[in-house]
């Protein structure tokens, strides 16, 4: 069964007298444990579609089901609870909490969102720190580590809650190409290790090649889907 099922998703923005059609009748399905990328030029609707999947925004029309839940009709608090349970986020600017250490940043969703017991918390964080190779940096603050390390911490924070889906909006945009590849490689490894679905957006053509399923967007329309192994539609 598909993890995400989107049907006729439309998103319009009203700006003063102009209506901007950010997404127009988009349909797609995403299977569990897939490594998916939405690609397209600026303004094509990549971020909009990630925001909708991330339950941060609601479509103007259409149906969207994630993990068998109709996320369109969730209220504000229910949306937050859904995000905390099923979703993980990786941001372009890392968005770590500056007053918390690497360890505490990874710990944050376990305490503040999922209320996990201390023993299990420690085990999960240790596992994540080891997985992103940040164990020896655990007690440093975000301003004491590099951009690549920050994004590794962000990946650990996104995965520590065992989400079904991790959304990453331009996760490599602020990284040099070597670090960008390393980060994408780490995300893929995590998918392999934990079976989590990763969806990321990018406009970097080299990075796109790392995705196993690629959705191409243009002017708010889904214009193609490529699956590694050769299938095109």
């Amino acid at each position: 069964m598909a993890l995400i099922k989107a049907q006729n998703i439309t998103k319009d923005y009203q700006t003063e007298d102009v209506v901007v059609h950010a997404l127009q009748e988009v349909d797609f399905e995403i299977e569990p444990a897939s490594f998916v990328s939405f690609v397209g030029p600026s303004g094509s609707g990549k971020t909009t579609i990630l925001n909708l999947i991330g339950c941060l925004d609601k479509p103007s029309a259409g149906n969207l089901r994630i993990a068998d839940t109709d996320v369109i009709n969730l209220g504000r608090k229910e949306s937050a609870a859904f995000r905390g349970k099923y979703l993980g986020f990786i941001f372009q600017d890392f968005n770590l909490i500056p007053v918390l250490t690497v360890y505490e940043n990874i710990e944050y969703p376990l305490i503040m969102v999922q209320n996990i017991a201390p023993q299990e918390r420690r085990e999960r964080i240790s596992r994540m720190l080891a997985a992103v190779d940040m164990t020896d940096q655990a007690h440093k603050y975000p301003h004491q580590i590099s951009g690549g390390q920050k994004q590794r911490v962000a990946i650990a924070r996104a995965l520590v809650t065992n989400p079904a889906l991790v959304l990453a909006d331009e996760p490599t945009a602020n990284l040099d190409s070597q670090t960008a590849y390393a980060v994408i490689g780490l995300m893929k490894k995590m998918r392999d290790d934990f079976g989590t679905t990763f969806i990321f957006s990018t406009h970097d053509t080299k990075i796109v090649g790392e995705a196993e399923v690629i959705f191409r967007l243009e002017d708010g329309r889904l214009v193609g889907k490529e699956t590694k192994g050769g299938t095109k539609s």
Binding site: L56, D57, A80, R83, G84, K85, F91, V99, M112, V113
Partner: protein, 412 residues
């Protein structure tokens, strides 16, 4: 909850200078209020103590209508001995009463055989009077701290004005109730320092001597001064005595007596009320300082951390927790201000006491002010500061919790 505190405290430390400035502002406000409340409160308590313990007593009982005409010291509104006996019975049966003293007040002429002037006199039973107003003896600046029959205690201004000294013989001449005039010689046994308030410049003689001057077969009583065991129970005692004396009626069935607390008898009560009003406004100023400074700092905190709010909201933090995060920041600022302000305020009050503030009040000079900090005041001010700090954080905290994560994440 501990994590919310950890994040709040670290965010406060993150903006050290701003936190320090805000906490300092609150601290200064708390120190100012505590010192003001302590000094004015001590001044008020001291002056009330002076007035009640050296002249008025805590409350008084008069025959109905006497207080309205008290400036004339009307002899026709005195209590006869039978009426006083009824009052004394009521007072003896009232457990709150520590002591009471009947007084026969009258106005007369004071002469040293060379010069003559007016004088207001209290005829008293010395032992009972000294028990009821224990500071009266401390006002005797020269002479014995006792009063025997045939002796008179005179106010210092009169002694200076007429150049009367201890041991001098003087004459008191007074108009009696029937309009006739009578006189009696007295020996000056003591000079009284003046006190501010009604009766502060009165002289004292034995009540039997007063009755003799006024040609009363039995000493009548103009007022009964009462001292309570617990001054803080004054309102209750007044009500209780009002009820009891209301039962004492004359032949026409009308109530004969009225009860007045010191507040109704001394104009200082208005000054005391003014002090209370000033203290209230000083507290309002403190509230304004805390409210404005914390609201300002929390609005800034929310504005500066919009992206952070977006991040934590996106990863699933519920709005209530985001709200709590900011309220706890304000709460911590309030706690710091209250604790540091309380400590500094106590230190300032200690220094004030070590330095020793002396002041003059009316004719009383060189009074030493002993500032004391009432734990209730400290608690009240701390609670006000913390409560206002939390209240001031509410609006920014609610704003933060209501932010749409998508818009917050877009914020540059």
């Amino acid at each position: 909850m501990m994590n919310l505190f950890k994040i709040a405290i670290r965010n406060l430390i993150r903006y050290k200078r701003r936190t320090l400035l805000t906490a300092s502002l609150i601290t200064i406000g708390v120190v100012f209020v505590l010192v003001f409340v302590s000094i004015t409160g001590s001044f008020k308590a001291m002056m009330i103590g002076q007035i009640t313990d050296s002249m008025l007593g805590h409350l008084q009982i008069h025959r109905k209508g006497y207080v309205a005409s008290i400036d004339n010291l009307p002899l026709n509104l005195n209590m006869k001995s039978q009426a006083y006996a009824k009052v004394a019975t009521v007072l003896d049966a009232t457990p709150e009463v520590a002591a009471f003293s009947p007084r026969l007040k009258f106005g007369g002429m004071f002469s040293n055989f060379v010069e003559t002037t007016n004088i207001r006199l209290n005829g008293i039973y010395p032992d009972r009077e000294f028990q009821t107003v224990p500071l009266l003896t401390s006002r005797i600046s020269e002479g014995k701290k006792v009063l025997n029959r045939g002796e008179i205690l005179i106010p210092i201004l009169l002694a200076k004005g007429l150049n009367v000294k201890l041991g001098d013989t003087v004459v008191i001449v007074a108009t009696n109730a029937d309009g006739s005039v009578n006189g009696k010689q007295f020996i000056v046994s003591g000079i009284l320092e003046s006190a501010t308030g009604p009766g502060g410049r009165d002289g004292y003689v034995h009540i039997e001597d007063a009755a003799e001057v006024l040609r009363m077969p039995e000493a009548e009583v103009s007022e009964v001064a009462i001292r309570l065991k617990d001054f803080s129970r004054l309102p209750t005692a007044v009500k209780q005595l009002e009820t009891k004396v209301a039962g004492v009626v004359n032949k026409e069935g009308r109530s004969m007596f009225e009860v007045h607390s010191w507040e109704q008898l001394s104009p200082f009560f208005n000054i005391a009320r003014m002090i209370d009003v000033m203290t209230f406004f000083i507290k309002i100023m403190l509230i304004a300082i805390v409210l404005i400074s914390i609201m300002n700092v929390m609005i800034m905190a929310v504005y500066e951390r919009i992206r952070e709010i977006g991040t934590i909201a996106a990863i699933g933090t519920l709005p209530g927790k985001i709200r709590s995060m900011f309220i706890i920041e304000g709460f911590c600022l309030g706690i710091v201000g209250a604790i540091v302000g309380g400590l500094l305020g106590s230190a300032v009050i200690l220094i004030v006491n070590l330095v020793g503030i002396r002041f003059d009040f009316g004719q009383q000079q060189g009074l030493l002010l002993k500032a004391t900090l009432n734990p209730n005041d400290l608690l009240t001010v701390s609670v006000i500061v913390i409560f206002v700090a939390v209240a001031a954080s509410l609006q920014p905290a609610i704003k933060a919790s209501k932010m749409e994560p998508i818009e917050a994440l877009r914020h540059v």
